[in-house]
Structure formats: C-alpha cells, structure tokens
Amino acid sequence: MSTKTIVHTTINGDPVEFLCEPRQSLLEVLRETLLLTGTKEGCNNGNCGACNVIMDGVLVNSCLVLGVEAEDATITTIEGLASPDGLHPLQQTFLEHAALQCGICTPGFLLSAKALLDRNPDPTETEVRYWLAGNLCRCTGYDKIVRAVLDAADRRDRVTR
C-alpha cells in the first residue's frame, strides 16, 4: 500500500486540497473524492474524451493524469463553466442546437470546445472537427455539436468570457 499524499490545487477558481493515493487518476479524485461528478468516465483509456478537463490551460484526459500530478495545478471542470449570471455561451448554443441527447459526452465536448475557443476564437469547421476528434458521442451525431461550437464562436464576438 502506498501512502496517501495531500495535493493542493485550484479547481474552478477555488483552492482545493485533497488526499489521494498515487495510483488514483485525477478523474477518480474529481468524481469520488471531490464529488465533482460532472466529469464523466467513458473508456478510462484516453479514447473518448468524456473525462476532459483543462489543467493549467491545457486540455487533458483526466483519466490519463494522476491525482498527485495535479499539485499546484489550476483546473477547470464542467462545474466551472457557467457563471452566476448564467450559462457559458457554449452551454447555451449546445442547448439551442440540441447538440446532446443522453448527455454523457457533453461535459467533455464542452471542455474541448472551450479549450479550442480559448486558443482560436474563430475556428473553421475543419478546425472544429479535427479538434473534437478525440471526443466520442454515441447519440447525437457530430453535426449538431459542430454547429453549436461554430455558433458559440460567432456569438463570442459579442459576449466575451
């Protein structure tokens, strides 16, 4: 048995400390220790993107990050996307374009899309499709998701977050 370590992070703007074993993934810690269950587990091996979070500005699969690696990291999860004033523009356009059905892939898609727009506020459709290639959806068909991301990019000219 390896010993538990205290890890200090900032999650969705709040300082958060947690105790974890080295073998625990960040995904496991988020869901089971911190009860931030918006981040989903799909494949647990890097292929589906349901577990995506943004760590120190970089989009990562939280199933492929150890909890202990998050020491001093700043993390954004789906719970940090909306503000007290309302939904994030991406959440709004996902709703309007019906870009979700069962919803299990949605948090991952939203974090991927946010990471894209943070880096490239005006992506082409091709850029959106390639960027989202690591996110799988078994229900919606990708077209509505791509439309929603492009629409959010258009609206960001007016609303900037």
């Binding site: 091996n45 989009l59 690591g134």
Partner: protein, 300 residues
C-alpha cells in the same frame, strides 16, 4: 490501478538515482498517455513512478544554430506545434506531432515517451530517424548519445538499461534545401494507429534538381521502426525524377518485413510502403525546394 509509489524529481541526477536504486521496478512518467494505460490494463507494472516533468532539461525546447533543435524528452507535442518558428523549421516533425492521438493526448504526449514506449507503429520515430536525430541518455555511468534508429530493439523494448533515462532528442539544424515529411495510413483520419507510417527527408543541390542525400524510415512493418538505409542512399547524386522515386519506393518495400494482423495484411502493408514512400518523398522534395536557404537563417 495497481498501487505504486510516486516521486516528482527536479534534476536528471535525482531521477537516475531513484531509477537505479529500484533495479527495473521503476517507470518514468512523462505524459502518461502510454504508461498510465499500460499500468491500468496490467500490461506493465511499477513499484515506483518517477515523474520527470519537473526536470527543466526534459521540458525545454530550443533551437541552437550549432547544435540544432534540442527537444526535451518530455515536451508535449502540442507545445512543439504551437511554437511557430520551430514548427515552420521542422514541418516533417510536426506531421508526426499533430498525428499522435487527439488534442487532449497531444497536450501531454511527448516524443520522448513515444520513443521509449517503442511501439513499431510509433509516429514520431520514423520522422526523427529521417531527421538524423540522436537520443541523449543519462545513466549512473554518465551520458551517452545514440542515433534514434538504434534506440528500439524489439516491440515495446529499448536499449535503455534500468537506471537510464532519456533526457533529450537532438535534431541537427536543417541544411539548405532540406525537406522532410511523415505520413501514415489509418482507416480513420484521426485517433488511430498507423497501419504503415513512412518518413522521408531529402537534401537537394543548389538548383533543386538533384538529391544530395535522402533518408527513408518505415513504421509498423518490422519489429521496430526501421531506417531503410539502402533506399535512401540509392537516391544520392541522382536527378529528381519519377523513376528515381519509384526505385526508392521499391527498395523501401524490399526493406519492410510486415506481418498480417487485425489492422492489415502483410501484402497490403507492403503496398502501402510503396505508396507512402512515393508520397513522402514528393512532399519532402516540395518542402526542400520551398525552403531554399532562407528560413534557416530566420531561425534563432
């Protein structure tokens, strides 16, 4: 996942000391996109995981006119192609960096990890080989530098000994009229593993119509990524022509020893080696002609 200890180190010496003390029971953690999957699935095991992302040397990337590109072993692919001057100078390396997984994998996955994981289908390795890259390896006895084509010795195995660590990849500064490209065949455009991958690099003469030298490297058609030395050498001194490219493609096919598995038959793979050798040579020639001698001077 199985239980293990975790250590985050900040120097190469500290990493080497920890790795050497565990006698084969320790694993280096760079981006974790291979290692954590292997540990979870029980394909690998570790008593100690040594996280090297806190070692500055492994996370640095810079270009030096004399020494070329120094690529820290743990630098993620996304940082490579996001660095514009370096991306423009080494499009043949960026071909591979932008193919490894999707963006969330590229945010963590490193060329060093790709090389040390030693998959026959690893995308960065043929690209590194044609760039004449070398690997700087540190161990209890000091440092050594070996050509990348000698690092992998079997599927999933490198020549690194317990206690050794890949510190850096060194890619020589591009010569004038140098061009390189890497391409792979996959059933799906993104997020797939190469059925065959081919890297090609050429240096052309001043008029851009003769090969001074060429290198061709193959992935997924042998137990390790392979330098098809004869195929590349055959081009040296020849006029750039379809016939010369065709001949090199045939020689590359002869160098391959593909197997049949779920992603393709041996026969299909051999065909692909021909197709991709032609395509990557054409792409490398085009880049070499476009590069001329200019961008090399722009780079600092």
């Amino acid at each position: 996942m199985q239980a293990f200890d975790y250590a985050r180190v900040s120097t190469v010496d500290e990493a080497v000391r920890l790795l050497a003390a565990r006698n084969g029971d320790a694993r280096v953690l760079s981006g974790g996109t291979d290692l954590l999957v292997a540990l979870r699935e029980g394909r690998d095991s570790a008593g100690l995981v040594v996280d090297v992302k806190g070692v500055p040397e492994l996370m640095e990337m810079f270009f030096d006119r004399g020494g070329g590109l120094m690529l820290g072993a743990a630098v993620p692919c996304q940082r490579m192609y996001s660095d514009e001057p370096i991306a423009q100078a080494f499009p043949g390396l960026m071909d591979a960096a932008s193919l490894i997984g999707g963006v969330q994998v590229q945010g963590r996955a490193s060329f060093g990890g790709n090389l040390c994981n030693a998959s026959p289908a690893a995308d960065s390795i043929p690209a590194l080989i044609v760039h004449k890259a070398t690997a700087v390896i540190a161990g209890p006895g000091g440092r050594r530098e070996v050509p990348v084509e000698e690092v992998c010795v079997a599927p999933g195995r490198t020549q690194l000994q317990p206690g050794e660590l890949l510190v850096q990849l060194r890619i020589p500064a591009p010569e004038p009229r140098f061009g390189a490209a890497y391409q792979r065949f996959t059933p799906r455009n993104e997020m797939d593993i190469a059925v065959v991958g081919v890297g090609a690099a050429v240096r052309l003469n001043a008029d851009g119509d003769h090969f001074e030298w060429a290198r061709i490297a193959l992935g997924a058609v042998a137990p390790t990524p392979l330098l098809a030395a004869e195929a590349g050498d055959a081009l040296a001194g020849k006029a750039v022509s379809e016939a010369a490219i065709e001949e090199a493609a045939r020689m590359a096919q002869a160098a391959a020893s593909p197997i049949t598995d779920m992603s393709g038959t041996a026969e299909f793979r051999r065909r692909l080696v021909g197709v991709l050798t032609r395509r990557t040579l054409v792409a490398a020639i085009e880049r070499a002609r476009r590069a001329g001698t200019h961008w090399n001077a722009d780079l600092r």
